[in-house]
Symmetry: C2
Subunit: 123 residues, 2 copies
């Protein structure tokens, strides 16, 4: 596997608070996001906090997707990190942003595995 | 939970290739790294690829640790992301870097959950 990876850091604000706290729904559309991007899923782990909030991870052959939701703030912190050249992480980012009904989306792309960290603010 | 988080992006090069491919050892010291940093562990998922390489995730109450190893390149891509003010992510970063015997370490810190993404290149 090539070490080069695209790591998209995503900040989602003003999301739907009910979706942010629905672990079944969240896991379902994160899996769908990974598949739509063309990833091969290896492990899926989602965790519900009491009284509120979800953390979830999908390990894919090409790296990972993660989410941490803060329903009380309408906020989700999302990472989509893909190695290789076969898949487009932004397909997953867009799908997740839509499903969380985020009104404010901020993204940063970090190029990893190239010897020197590089970043850009947008696609 | 406060949304503010410190996300440390870590690139480890010239690591010990045997350690990079030892899933039992890797999981053990990632768990230890999380605990040393003061995190509360919620989920631990490590995955071995054939013929080589490991991906692992630890979900903590305060966010996550991840690793993707490329033993053939002596490289590991590590993230340590902690929310709140109670724990120091750099304790985990240093512990992991030492255990992987990395000769070259590059770090970037991203401040998350504050409305606007901010970053710095070093601690």
């Amino acid at each position: 596997m090539d070490t080069k990876g695209r790591h998209i850091i995503v900040e989602l604000w003003k999301c739907n608070k009910d979706v942010l706290n629905n672990i079944i729904e969240m896991e379902r559309f994160f899996v769908e996001a990974a598949l739509k991007a063309g990833a091969e899923i290896r492990e899926v782990t989602f965790h519900k906090f009491a009284p509120i909030g979800i953390s979830g991870v999908i390990i894919i052959s090409e790296s990972h997707l993660t989410v941490h939701s803060f329903p009380e703030h309408g906020y989700a912190s999302v990472d989509v990190y893909t190695c290789g050249y076969s898949i487009d992480p932004y397909i997953a980012v867009e799908f997740i942003s839509q499903h969380l009904q985020a009104s404010k989306v901020e993204k940063m792309e970090i190029t990893r595995g190239m010897g020197t960290l590089r970043f850009s603010n947008e696609k």
